[in-house]
């Protein structure tokens, strides 16, 4: 019996997945054919998504009233951003609590569209509040207010966040 078992052992070592090979071989062609079709449907759905976004934007956020806020984290910042609150003209526009994945994405250079809404043309007051933790574990929060003008074109504002070490409030807002 030892010879038989040893043969089984060696076969298992040389080709660890041999037991499932027949099933895979049988399904290999099917898998590849299906894979091609799945790629096609992904492409179709992506193009529907793109058209739908466009339609949504036109319907929900017409260009003359549209405002979008994008959030990024300054380079080389190691503070942990927990939450962000945005008020426009004293009204809460959005409040976002960050997951580790989102924070990681921001620290790697990603930019988050945190708010899209509608406002009338003219001057407006923007108030940003951020809450988080410093590298040493201390809590921190910072707020700052800004004035911006909304024209007839869609407005995009970029909010760059930095820890308290960066001076001032650590919140910068700029036009895009």
């Amino acid at each position: 019996m030892s010879r038989l078992i040893r043969k089984m052992l060696l076969a298992a070592l040389i080709c660890a997945s041999s037991a499932s090979l027949s099933a895979q071989e049988l399904s290999g062609d099917n898998t590849r054919s299906l894979d091609g079709q799945v790629q096609e449907i992904k492409s179709d759905v992506l193009s529907i998504a793109s058209e739908l976004s466009n339609l949504e934007e036109r319907l929900l956020f017409p260009s003359n009233t549209q405002i979008s806020l994008f959030v990024s984290v300054a380079d080389n910042e190691d503070f942990r951003l927990d939450a962000l609150q945005v008020e426009i003209d004293g009204q809460l526009a959005t409040h976002h609590i960050y997951s580790f994945q989102e924070l990681g994405a921001l620290q790697k250079g990603g930019v988050q569209r945190v708010y899209t809404g509608n406002i009338v043309t003219g001057e407006h007051q923007l108030r940003i509040t951020m809450m988080g933790k410093l590298g040493n574990g201390d809590d921190f929060n910072a707020s700052d207010s800004f004035v911006f003008a909304k024209g007839v074109k869609p407005k995009a504002l970029g909010v760059t966040l930095a820890g308290p070490g960066s001076g001032a409030s650590g919140i910068q807002v700029g036009d895009w």
Partner: protein, 626 residues
């Protein structure tokens, strides 16, 4: 950048691409940054949707250098291919990267693109095309991918059955930090495939001693030792195999196989007591593992050889019970898959949020089938099918949400129509009236501006006469005309009086001309400001009026068309999911049936060996009693 899995295991090769975020550059395009935000979270559908739209818009602009994406276009096109590849859209990924290759780009960028294209072909098992793409690399190569290119080249040679060529390339990578362990192991495999047995043994020996604290390098080190031990076992060099098998860590992914082989190597050198030790450890491990199941038979076999028949019988009995329980578990699993529970478990979102979700499937009480499917789950074809199934499930969820959104959009447009349509006709009538009055005023304003400009070059005092003065002038002209032919004394006196009056008026107009012109200019400037405000309000009104119409007009057709598109796509997805799901279920059931048959075979052997051990134990007892 950390490379973890571009490893050759014989002909089993995997490849992956690394996202190309903006490296050290200031981000100038928000939408590119937004795509990166999604990509860094593994949301490649969302990343692609945004970046694809952005790149297409950039391609369509007349002056691309004025578009913010212009500063990142190479990165963006690379990322597009990268995201497509990560979203398992190899066909499109290849096209995107080929576009970069064929564009007028820097040598470094072109070489990077050629490397990426080669990886795509490699992943699609198109080795000829992969090598052809690598051959396009020439001149300056980005330092970060120099070793990656050579490692890929070696893997292509290996996969294409050219181990000697692979070995030559891999020799140059032995000092590579990025491929510590992997290059050494693959070189050993290349020698082995090339028939250079001694060189393979020496190389695998070296690969089995690399020092690192990286878990993936430690795993490949274990694998080198296991393969080397196995080679020696196959050759009958049992004693030689043991030191290499002993090098494999007891808590690593290859420890079960190493323990099993160590036992057999000891057994084959008639060192039976030493075989018992690893098998005893192994027999107590996870019962679903193939090596563990084999050890459950091998251990009592060793006890038998040691003439400890009683213990052998107990162990065979234990193995028999265990195999029986596993067969029952497999039966339940097969039934569970047939009932569709396997696919239901796979698409549970809360499980997939965990990066080790495949492993966690094992802990779900309602998915016993996954106990036996770990190997299958790790195989390439099954993984492809599984990922496709999961992607399809995600797409189905999106389409369902969109379908519901269309109803809201329709309702929104209807509400706006109901609000605006009764108001707009009256507003339009009022506006038309206002519009004609405004146009008249605008024309009058233009005429006054022209007159002011004329007066600045050709003074005409009478143009600045007041209304009374103008009436007076007209009356004087009339009286002068009436008196033109009169010769009487009265007429002559009247003419002189008229002349004095005209002189007086002319004096006033001439002397006050500059003052009046200044005042006229000042008034006109004030009017300019008022006109600017008026025009601004007019434009605002026109925009608001257009916005009112645009808020509900022109949505019906696109919504209807998109509804149909979504419905059609949903139908296709349903069909594909059924086919893909069925394929997965059939493959999983085949695997489980094979494992069940294997266990039943083991069970038969255990039953026979159990009876034999009892007989021998009884005989031994009888001999003792005599």
């Amino acid at each position: 950048m950390r490379r973890t899995s571009l490893i050759a295991t014989g002909l089993l090769l995997t490849a992956y691409l690394v996202a190309t975020p903006v490296s050290g550059e200031e981000l100038k395009d928000l939408h590119f940054g937004e795509a990166l935000f999604h990509a860094h979270q593994g949301q490649f559908f969302e990343a692609l949707e945004r970046l694809d739209t952005e790149v297409r818009q950039h391609d369509g602009v007349d002056e691309p250098e004025r578009d913010t994406l212009y500063f990142h276009i190479n990165d963006a096109e690379f990322s597009l291919g990268d995201f497509e590849l990560r979203y398992r859209m190899h066909h499109r990924a290849g096209r995107a990267i080929k576009a970069v290759l064929e564009g007028a780009v820097d040598e470094l960028v072109r070489n990077d693109a050629a490397y990426r294209l080669a990886r795509i072909h490699f992943q699609k098992n198109q080795m000829g095309d992969a090598m052809q793409a690598l051959q396009r690399i020439e001149g300056n190569i980005p330092a970060a991918i120099k070793d990656d290119i050579e490692f890929l080249r070696a893997n292509i040679h290996l996969a294409d059955g050219r181990p000697a060529a692979a070995a030559e390339v891999l020799q140059g990578l032995q000092d590579s930090q990025a491929f510590t362990g992997y290059a050494a192991y693959n070189l050993g495999i290349a020698y082995l495939q090339d028939g250079q047995r001694q060189a393979a043994i020496e190389q695998l020996d070296r690969a089995g001693q690399v020092s690192s604290d990286d878990p993936s390098v430690l795993a490949i080190r274990d694998k080198s030792n296991l393969v080397l031990g196995t080679i020696l076992l196959e050759e009958g060099n049992y004693a030689g195999a043991i030191p290499y098998l002993n090098r494999v860590r007891l808590d690593g992914p290859f420890s079960n196989q190493a323990l099993l082989s160590t036992g057999w190597a000891s057994m084959s050198t008639d060192n039976i007591e030493r075989a018992v030790v690893p098998w005893k450890i192994l027999a107590a491990r996870e019962t679903t593992d193939r090596a563990t199941q084999e050890a459950m038979l091998a251990l009592p076999y060793a006890y038998g050889k040691l003439d400890v028949y009683g213990r052998a019988a107990i162990s065979y009995g234990h193995a028999l019970d265990s195999f029986g329980a596993e067969v029952d578990k497999l039966n339940v699993s097969i039934e569970s898959i047939r009932e569709g529970k396997f696919l239901e478990a796979l698409i549970r979102e809360e499980i997939r949020k965990d990066k080790d979700w495949v492993i966690r499937l094992r802990s779900l009480p309602e998915t016993p089938e996954t106990y036996y499917l770990m190997e299958l789950l790790a195989s390439h074809d099954f993984q492809t099918g599984l990922q496709n199934y999961l992607d399809l499930a995600d797409l189905r969820r999106k389409l369902q949400t969109w379908q519901a959104n269309f109803d809201s959009f329709d309702e929104m447009a209807d509400i706006r129509r109901d609000h605006y349509e009764p108001l707009l006709p009256d507003i339009d009538t009022e506006f038309r009236e206002l519009d004609s009055r405004m146009r008249l005023r605008i024309e009058q304003h233009k005429m006054l501006v022209r007159r002011r400009d004329d007066l600045l070059t050709t003074p005409r005092p009478e143009f600045l006469a007041t209304r009374e003065e103008q009436q007076l002038l007209r009356r004087l002209e009339l009286l002068e005309a009436q008196l033109r032919g009169g010769q009487s004394l009265l007429a002559t006196t009247a003419k002189q009086r008229l002349k004095r009056l005209r002189g007086l008026l002319t004096w006033t107009l001439e002397t006050e001309y500059h003052e009046r012109l200044t005042e006229f200019d000042l008034n006109l400037r004030n009017l300019d400001e008022a006109m600017a405000v008026l025009e601004q309000e007019y434009d605002e009104y026109v925009r608001s009026r257009q916005a009112a119409s645009h808020s509900y007009v022109g949505y019906q057709k696109p919504i209807k068309r998109m509804r149909a598109q979504v419905r059609e796509a949903a139908g296709k997805i349903e069909l594909l999911m059924t086919r893909q799901g069925h394929l997965l279920e059939v493959t999983a059931i085949e695997e489980l049936v094979a494992r069940r048959s294997h266990l039943e075979n083991y069970g038969d052997k255990a039953r026979f060996a159990l009876a034999d051990s009892y007989d021998r134990a009884t005989q031994a007892q009888a001999r003792v009693d005599e």
